[in-house]
């Protein structure tokens, strides 16, 4: 027993040292860069800041370009919350019927769901469709696009999870007089809570961090998301590395918070859903 514990210690210590070098050092570098003066940060050295100015850098980032970052955060927040809500509701409904209703069409539906996961979206033709609908370069257009692109993965998770809920429950609810909508929204959906959290957090992180989507479908400063502002900031202000890294730090906070609050639920949802056997 002591030998096993001894090994757990040695392996653990080696793993921790490697993890510090591989994973922590890059993030410490970001924090240090974000705290430096412009001249100090431009050397790109992994060094202690000569003059510690974390908070004045923070204030500077929040005020750059008359506070464009606030606007970007608002755009990203609206985009993420709305598209994830649409995705969760639609995918839950589709995954539920797909899991419960056995019919000859299921094979075809599953084929299209998998196709949606595998096939890369055709970007320029999508722009063409958006222009026809007068949605190109608008936030509602972007929301619908993000919702669509996330549907397949979400449906797969919901379908797998609904399979684990006993059918007797539906029958009991039906006998108690529930209609199709009551059955789904009042009985089944509350039971899907773990997978709802998983889908919502995973997709929220994905949409929030998505760069290619807004780059194609949401051009212009007015609707810029945080990822776009970070990218433009990088190509414009190469003399302000400290502010650039402060920007990275700020943008990392929302996904981090989402993850910290739902860490356990995500693992639970994925285990019951995506992987079987």
């Amino acid at each position: 027993m002591t030998r096993v514990r001894g090994r757990a210690w040695t392996v653990g210590i080696i793993a921790i040292i490697v993890s510090i070098v591989v994973f922590l050092v890059p993030f410490i570098f970001v924090v240090l860069q974000a705290s430096k003066t412009p001249a100090d940060a431009s050397t790109l050295a992994f060094s202690w800041p000569k003059h510690w100015q974390f908070f004045s850098n923070l204030r500077a980032v929040l005020q750059t370009n008359s506070g464009i970052i606030w606007r970007a955060f608002l755009n990203s927040a609206i985009l993420t919350v709305t598209s994830v809500t649409i995705m969760v509701i639609l995918a839950a409904m589709a995954g539920y019927v797909l899991a419960r209703r056995k019919s000859k069409w299921n094979g075809i539906v599953n084929f299209f769901v998998l196709a949606g996961l595998i096939v890369p979206p055709a970007v320029v033709p999508t722009i063409w469709v958006l222009q026809r609908l007068r949605l190109f370069g608008t936030l509602p257009g972007m929301i619908l696009i993000e919702s669509t692109f996330g549907l397949s993965f979400s449906i797969l998770l919901f379908r797998a999870f609904v399979g684990t809920i006993p059918r007797e429950l539906d029958e009991a609810a039906v006998l108690d007089g529930a209609g199709p909508f009551t059955l789904f929204f009042r009985v089944v959906l509350p039971l899907l809570r773990p997978v709802v959290v998983t889908v919502a957090v995973v997709q929220a992180v994905f949409v929030f961090n998505d760069f290619a989507g807004p780059l194609y479908f949401l051009p212009g400063n007015e609707h810029a998301t945080v990822q776009l502002t970070l990218f433009t900031f990088q190509s414009q202000n190469l003399s302000f590395y400290n502010l650039l890294f402060m920007d990275i730090l700020l943008i990392t906070i929302p996904p981090l918070i989402a993850y910290i609050f739902s860490n356990r639920q995500i693992v639970a949802g994925l285990t019951s859903g995506a992987i079987k056997g």
């Binding site: 514990r5 392996v11 793993a15 921790i16 993890s19 591989v22 994973f23 050092v25 570098f29 970001v30 050397t43 790109l44 050295a45 639609l90 409904m93 589709a94 539920y96 019927v97 419960r100 209703r101 998998l114 096939v119 890369p120 979206p121 055709a122 970007v123 320029v124 033709p125 722009i127 063409w128 469709v129 619908l144 919702s147 669509t148 539906d170 029958e171 039906v174 007089g177 209609g179 199709p180 059955l183 961090n209 760069f211 290619a212 780059l215 194609y216 990822q227 970070l230 990088q234 990275i248 943008i251 990392t252 981090l256 860490n263 693992v267 994925l270 995506a274 992987i275 079987k276 056997g277």
Partner: protein
């Protein structure tokens, strides 16, 4: 209020009509097909129509407003222009490298992090953390860390008297450097999926094997690896889909450069779009579609055949 009334009405109807018939009718209609409608609308309008349209527009010279049929010229251009053709090779290379490495490293980390190891909670968190960080942010970070002259990595190499490559600036190296950054960022998802797969294996199997005198290596080879097949299939499929379509990290680090040495199909699609060659861009999309389908469909079939449900 109205729900109660409807329910009461249904019940009343049940009493009047034959209960058995009505029950059979209800239980199916309680999973209405209409629940698919909003999903189908989004899918058709924003995914299926553009996908089908890309096949037509790839055969045209196209300005978004009018298109001019030119046959297979765009594809000929794509495969004859070495700058475009190499992106095809890079896509395959990039997809295979990132996916393969994520499977191997992810599995290794998952075995490590499901076993008895000190600081497990910390290690799990730190491995997953890069998944949450913005790809653009990671790109900027690594551009600084791997800067050929001032970057920290080369400073360390210089200290030990080792050669200091131009990670993102050497044409032979750039694509591999990006792949490495991609692996660093994405291995946490692979690890998470593998961990879920390993945890799902019944403990008794390991105990029985241990009592029978099997060593750690044998347990790994004959229990852990075969029984986490499902997780392996999921990781291969998801990481290969991601790798073949990869754009963000490449655009954030090298922009396909130096020259065209780290261009993949996805970045060519964007460049042609930016340059106004919409037909050529759509052709790039069709090529990417074919690459992904030709690889993924048989692979998904083979991997799913046994017991896996993605």
């Amino acid at each position: 209020m109205s729900t109660i009334n409807t329910a009461a009405a249904t019940q009343a109807a049940d009493v009047i009509t034959e209960p058995r018939v009505s029950k059979k009718r209800t239980i199916k209609s309680y999973y209405p097909r209409s629940f698919f409608i909003p999903t189908i609308v989004l899918y058709v309008v924003f995914f299926a129509i553009p996908s089908v349209a890309s096949f037509y527009f790839s055969l045209t010279r196209w300005s978004l407003f009018d298109s001019h049929f030119i046959g297979f010229d765009n594809f000929v251009e794509f495969f004859q222009n070495p700058q475009l053709y190499t992106s095809f090779i890079h896509t395959l290379l990039y997809g295979v490298i990132t996916s393969g490495a994520k499977v191997l490293i992810g599995f290794f980390l998952a075995v490590l992090l499901t076993g008895p190891v000190m600081g497990r909670g910390y290690l799990r968190a730190v491995v997953f953390f890069p998944v949450l960080v913005s790809t653009i942010g990671v790109g900027i970070m690594y551009k600084s860390l791997l800067d050929p002259f001032h970057g920290m990595v080369n400073a360390v190499l210089r200290f030990f008297g080792l050669p200091q490559p131009g990670w993102f600036t050497d044409p032979h190296l750039a694509i591999y450097t990006i792949a490495a950054v991609d692996i660093w960022k994405g291995v946490g998802i692979a690890t998470l999926i593998f961990m879920a797969g390993i945890v799902a294996i019944p403990r008794e199997y390991f105990e029985a094997a241990r009592i029978d005198g099997a060593g750690a290596w044998r347990i790994l080879r004959e229990i852990t690896i075969p029984l986490s097949r499902g997780a392996t299939a999921t990781v291969i499929i998801l990481s290969l889909i991601g790798g073949l379509r990869s754009f963000d990290i490449i655009w954030a680090t090298t922009g396909g450069g130096p020259g065209f040495t780290s261009d993949v199909i996805a970045s060519v699609i964007y460049k042609e779009y930016q340059a106004g060659f919409y037909g050529l861009s759509a052709a790039g999309n069709v090529v990417l579609f074919l690459v992904v389908t030709v690889i993924m469909v048989p692979l998904t079939y083979v991997l799913n055949r046994k017991q896996v449900q993605l």
